[in-house]
């Protein structure tokens, strides 16, 4: 069991910026049980945070080769690998990973992972000046409305908001923001007003209102501890800026 706890402890340390301790811990975890998707995931995160995409890339490619295609984390770890490929300038390989394992109909995870990984990939690809895949964006938007009709997990909600902003569904953004604020008032939504503000920033960015977008997003950058997740996810806010 130690392998499992250390894989999560390492993630927490890495999210907290304690990269040396995180590295030691994740290496212990992976050595104790290499066949643990959380261990591979933690290793990918620690490498990402430490600025070692090539190490993560080599590790994830070989790890995924022996992980079942229908394993719950196949899609999410393929997304991590796609980040490494983008960083390495291998856009074609990143796109191949997207089509193979990250796209909505190919992803092995649950709704939260499908939406988060798909929306994050599409958004980052646009930030990198690749043309928008409008059909994929619409598909994610429809799926998000269906599978996650109400807010719950902050990290997934961030990506639902992104999908809604891309479609420019201001009504949906507004109603989700109100739901979050209501949950926050009931003490059931720890991130409070963070995501409603983020939604306003993304919506402004989409309509090209960059000064409003910067005004909304800048105070939020670096405040990711309020919704969980890691820099691999939250960097898209800073990259947008």
């Amino acid at each position: 069991m130690i392998f499992w706890f250390t894989s999560y402890h390492a993630m927490a340390l890495s999210e907290d910026g304690q990269l040396g301790a995180a590295r030691a811990k994740i290496e212990r975890s992976v050595a104790a049980n290499p066949n643990n998707a959380h261990g591979a995931h933690g290793f990918a995160h620690v490498c990402y945070e430490s600025g070692e995409p090539d190490t993560a890339r080599a590790y994830l490619s070989s790890w995924l080769a022996s992980y079942p295609r229908d394993g719950f984390f196949y899609g999410h770890l393929s997304w991590h690998l796609s980040l490494c490929e983008i960083q390495a300038g291998n856009w074609a390989e990143a796109l191949r990973l997207y089509r193979d394992a990250i796209a909505l109909d190919r992803h092995s995870g649950g709704p939260q992972q499908k939406i988060s990984d798909g929306a994050a990939f599409l958004w980052r690809s646009e930030l990198a000046d690749h043309p928008r895949d409008a059909a994929a964006g619409r598909g994610l938007y429809d799926y998000a409305n269906r599978a996650l009709p109400r807010p719950g997990n902050g990290l997934a909600d961030l990506h639902v908001i992104l999908a809604q902003a891309v479609i420019r569904d201001d009504a949906a953004l507004g109603s989700r923001a109100r739901q979050m604020e209501e949950l926050a008032r009931e003490g059931c939504y720890p991130s409070g007003s963070y995501l409603p503000a983020l939604g306003r920033g993304f919506a402004a960015f989409e309509r090209g209102d960059f000064s409003v977008a910067i005004e909304a997003l800048a105070p939020l950058a670096g405040g990711n501890e309020r919704i969980g997740g890691s820099r691999a996810q939250h960097d898209l806010i800073e990259f947008t800026l």
């Binding site: 998707a37 992980y67 079942p68 394993g71 939260q112 059931c188 720890p190």
Partner: protein, 297 residues
Amino acid sequence: MPIFVIPGNHDAIDGAYVVNGGDILHRWTNERFLSTPHRVRNCSGRVRYAIPFFCDPDQDTIIKCLPSCRSADNPAKYPPVRFGDYALWFARKSYEHMANEPAPAGRGRRPRPPRAGEFDVLAYKIRFSAQLPRGEGFFMLTDRYDLALSTASVAARDDYVHASDLALTFYPGAGEAYDRAVAADPGFALAHAGKAQVLMRQGDVGAARAALAAAKDVSAGLSEREASHIGFFDLVFAGRTEAAIAALYAHLAAMAARRAGRLQRREPERPDRRLRPHRTEAPDRGTDGQPRIALRR
């Protein structure tokens, strides 16, 4: 009968029994029969049953080198020892909870010393019963981490352990394995709760809630730990994140307190750990608790 005394890995032989000699035979025969280091590994990739059968002498039996196993050139290597004393010494040095165990009362008779060439088994028992009580019984099935489970079905327990391994590491097949556990014992609350957890992360909210409701339906008489485990997921599923986190701290504190209490009282988690039918993956030690050397000559 072929007897392997060669260290190394031996594949199972079809139609054959493997008998591992222990320390008592080792002492009795003056190392003619060695106490072999043995470990049974499951390489099949599947869950399988191991039913260990231990064959021990009576507590009062004096384990003394058999006359046929010693000679002027080969004197007895070990002094005589009463079996009960030897077993207790081993248990005390191997298991923390046995450290202060009093010596078992003898039966007040001295055993007849064995005659030359005699090699009789004075007592044996099958330390295994398929009839398992639920709750705080004498015998509890446990999970991979030695935590007692409220099921009387060995098959359900094995599927549960397998399912939990898969669920923890995000390998496929956990849901199906929990289903098999529930089919083997519909009253196995933690298997329902495990299934609920798998369904929830797959986004099947309705089915997840139904599985957790099934867990709660059969939760009468559960241990405090199991009830608290289910209660935690109940809060998570209800979206009560902060209450769930508080419940988790309480759950862990209670586990630590129970463990500390047991250690203080020097009690085992269960009355007799050896009664548990187990998956033989842990290294098996001889009764002296030491890694053993098989081949001395």
